[in-house]
Amino acid sequence: MRFAAAGILTLLVATVAACVRPSAVVRYAESASRTTEEFPQLAREIHASCLRVEAYKAQRKSEWYDEVTFRRACATRDTAVFGLIQANDVIAAYLKALASIAGNSGASLEPQTGRFVKLLAGKAGFNEPQADAAERLAEFVASKSVEGFKRRELSRVIAAHNADVQTVVSTLLRIVTQDFPSAFNVESTAQDNFYRTSLAEFGEREPLAAILVREQRDRRAMELMNKRRAITSYAAALRRIQSGHQKLYDERNHLDAPALAVELIRAAKELDSITRELDRAFR
């Protein structure tokens, strides 16, 4: 009798586990998509950083300045950021599509025109093959067929798009880990130049004002440090998305494997935690 109960229990656990497994893909893809939706705030900070550097420079030159002058000086950066956001949106939309297919829930996605994405990705440091990968993903997301995909076709979708996902995410990762910190390094030096020079020139004559200036400098340095942390967090998210999709590809013929479900849930929890960190960084 006890053995029979244990057998029923085992069967029940296995059944529940089998139900959980497909939703692990949904959980992972939804979490990953939500994290990628945080990217525009981070990317816009790279443009804002350029504007702040221009402001420090103009203030030291003691010339009259306006926003238009700064915007003109940072126009190249603005274009690059816009292109990056579009390329990142393709990944966000693809992950959303993946979640819909895995959940049999029917996709409700904003269509993105492949050619438009390719053009903008090209403006964001993507070379020809990388921009082609972004274009193919955008076309897949935009295609009506996404709506018709069912869970059983999940492995085929993953297999068809893994290379493009890896390419686009790698390119974003390279830009986020190399160019974003460089932009903040420049801002940090501009900040030091501005405050240190001002304090060296006027600090002794106006000691009370110098205290306030130091406090302002500390606050701005802290803000910059939080933005650097956000870069590190987003890079970790991109790595998790990359490895998670690769794992899905490697296990595409065993998507119901318990070990895969455990790994995807762990990845989803990490991504949720990163999303919360990014939310806090830009609140």
Binding site: C50, V53, K57, R60, K61, C74, T76, R77, T79, A80, L84, K123, A124, G125, F126, N127, Q130, I175, Q178, D179, S182, A183, N185, V186, T189, A190, D192, N193, R196, T197, A200
Partner: protein, 133 residues
Amino acid sequence: MKSRRNANSVVSANDARSLARLYYELAGSIGKYRFDNWHKLSPSERGDLESLEWTLLTFSSDMTSRAIIFDLSEARSALREITAATKRLKQSIARLNDVRDVIRAATKAVTLAAAIFSGNAEAVASAVASATD
């Protein structure tokens, strides 16, 4: 044959990244010199050095934007010379004592960066030659 090249054909994204780093470090070297010698320098010398720092920092920032924007597979052999010349300028600034020499070296770095941005291969070659004098 066109002598004037498009700016993005002079450097690839990775080249732009290396140059952005070098110009960032150059600006830092001049800043260090300015603050280390603050009381020995006249207001005008400080102003000249600071202006050069901002210019070099702007070049570094622009190179970073360029690295994001352009990714060309064709890397030009001139880059090796540009990098070597910029590194030499950075080393000499760290060694120099006379502010006029520092200003001269920093001005050469600015000329070199301007040549890179102009995309003019002849201007780049000339600025490299001047930087290695």
